[in-house]
Symmetry: C2
Subunit: 123 residues, 2 copies
């Protein structure tokens, strides 16, 4: 079995770096049965998910991961919870976020079966 | 199929209310194959998880849910991401948190297969 913590770290490194540089490059990480929740909108299916991400109204969106936790499942999938902050375009104030992923094994690699992203505002 | 959004809402209402009143009362929600990550510590198995929760060094811990999102899985399980804030004992300042759950169906109900909890601090 792959070391799930290493997989989660490599996955998030790749995901957020690619997100910041070329969102369309994330296409290989989603499948037709993937689900994305971005804020309050749920988008099913890899093609629609990439379109949604590409069309987000930000040119520059840089994620900074502060916490990363992962758990293994008996079926080989991996649960991941990330918290951190993002910087949008030229806004000086970073915004806090939380994002959960459910990674499923597929042909020696993993894809994103579930992806839920929320911005977090202070109480 | 049960309405996964209603299940997620009922689950989190019960979970956080019980957490605030009687943490031992959460025992029925975990199973031997459950995993809890609380901050940086991973605890496997329902009995150990309840012991961990009961022994948290807070008498009063009240959760306030701000965002709640859920996604259905083909196998009947439900992915949940909660963000909000907690108030600890008599501390005046609430603390922001994110918590992800993976709920698995079991005999007409659901149990917590995966639970990851993190406090979030502003950047």
């Amino acid at each position: 079995m792959a070391d799930y913590e290493s997989v989660a770290k490599q996955f998030t490194d790749f995901y957020y770096q690619t997100f910041g540089q070329n969102r369309a490059g994330l296409a290989g990480l989603y499948r037709p049965d993937s689900l994305l929740t971005f804020e309050t909108t749920q988008t099913p299916g890899g093609e629609a998910i990439i379109q949604k991400l590409v069309e987000l109204p930000f040119q520059k969106m840089q994620h900074h991961v502060v916490t990363l936790n992962a758990q293994p499942s008996a079926d080989g999938s991996i649960q991941v919870l990330v918290t951190g902050y993002i910087k949008l375009d030229e806004e000086p104030q970073p915004q806090t976020f939380a994002e959960s992923f459910h990674l499923k094994p597929d042909g020696g690699s993993y894809y994103i079966a579930h992806d839920i992203f929320r911005l977090i505002f202070p109480p």
